[in-house]
Structures are given as structure tokens and as C-alpha cells.
Symmetry: C2
Subunit: 115 residues, 2 copies
């Protein structure tokens, strides 16, 4: 089955996970298309100064695959730069945040796979 880009739901989330500014969510898969062991398959676009706040995952792994732009990821051991093609892996009981300090929008694909 093919789901076309123009049939996906775009929404704006303000202060996502207590982050800053707005995040634009493009829901690639909704509940109807989602695999049994997944619960998120969306892109997020963060303009300059915007972030997804620090949060923890339990009994699941979230992947942030960076599609374009640059960002700063916060993990337990500090802040790290990421660029297009990098992936952030956040497993059971691990935490992360991500922000964009640059003019170029940061676009990432977020996928959560249940344990």
C-alpha cells in the first residue's frame, strides 16, 4: 500500500516535551498504518531556536534520523552536534532532547519501536 505525502497530517506542536517554540509534525504513519511494535513514525521540523525538550523512554527505543540541517542533542553525558545522515538512538530508560541553533531548518525522522 502506498501513502502519499499529500495525505499525511501536518500539525504544529508548541513547547513539545517542554521544549522551546514550535515544532512542525508531519505524521507519516497514523494509528491505522502503524506496525504492532511501533508507535511513532513522523518527521519533525525545528526552525532556529526551537527544541524538543528532555524526556525519557521506557520499554521502547526512539530513533531520530537526521534528514537535513544540524542540531544539538542533549543526552545524560552532555551535548553533541548532529548533522544530516546521523542517527540518535535512545533506548529503554534513556533520555534525550534536541534543538536547532541554526538558520537552516532541522528536519528529523522520529521512529519509536516498542520493546
Amino acid at each position: 500500500m502506498i501513502k502519499k505525502k499529500e495525505d499525511m497530517i501536518i500539525s504544529k506542536i508548541t513547547k513539545m516535551r517542554d521544549g522551546n517554540g514550535d515544532v512542525i509534525k508531519n505524521e507519516i504513519l497514523g494509528n491505522l498504518d502503524m506496525a504492532k511494535h511501533a508507535r511513532m513514525f513522523s518527521t519533525f521540523t525545528l526552525n532556529k531556536g526551537c527544541s524538543i525538550g528532555y524526556h525519557t523512554h521506557i520499554k521502547e527505543t526512539e530513533y531520530y534520523y537526521i534528514l537535513s540541517g544540524n542540531g544539538v542533542v542533549s543526552e545524560k553525558d552532555g551535548d553533541k552536534e548532529v548533522k544530516a545522515g546521523d542517527i540518535v538512538i535512545t533506548g529503554d530508560q534513556e533520555s534525550h532532547a534536541i534543538r536547532n541553533d541554526n538558520e537552516e531548518p532541522l528536519v528529523l525522522l522520529a521512529i519509536i519501536i516498542l520493546d
Copy 2:
């Protein structure tokens, strides 16, 4: 944890799933980083005339999320065009193939999530 683009394994697969030509695989996640309910998280680049042949998935769902370029997907009910931003959803006992007829490379992200 962050895995950098430059640490990913790139390989060439000839006649993938009995398709045509070569497919360039960029393994984003290997066995070490893979979630329990996933078994593939890679991009594939198909130049003009190249394809991944028709094959069936059992007790898993494969997603082809199109990152750039255009392609033709074959499913049980025929051929369909896909472009960047579209997603191909192939669930339990379903089949698919994908090919690139255009000059621009087709790049897709392939993710398999186990049932």
C-alpha cells in the same frame, strides 16, 4: 547514543531480490543498534535502471520511505509511481518491488518491524 553517518557501512548489492543492476546500501543500524522488534534500518540508492525485485514479507512489515527521487512500486494490484515523502507499506504476507526509471537517483529508507 549518536551514530555518525561516517561510521555507517556502505555496500553494493547486485541483483537484490532478483532485481536489476546494483543497489547501494547504507546500513544505518546494524545488529548491535537494532531494536528488538526491528531487523532492517538502512537506506538504499537505486540509479537509473536498477531495482529491488518482487518479494514477500512474513510476520513483519517493511516500510520504504522515499527520501529523494522517483520510483515505480509493484504491488499485487499493479505498478504505482512514488516520489520523495511518500511511503510504501508492506505488511504480513504482502509483496512489493521497486525500480528507478529516471536519471535522478532514487533514495529510500527501508525499515522492517517484526510483528
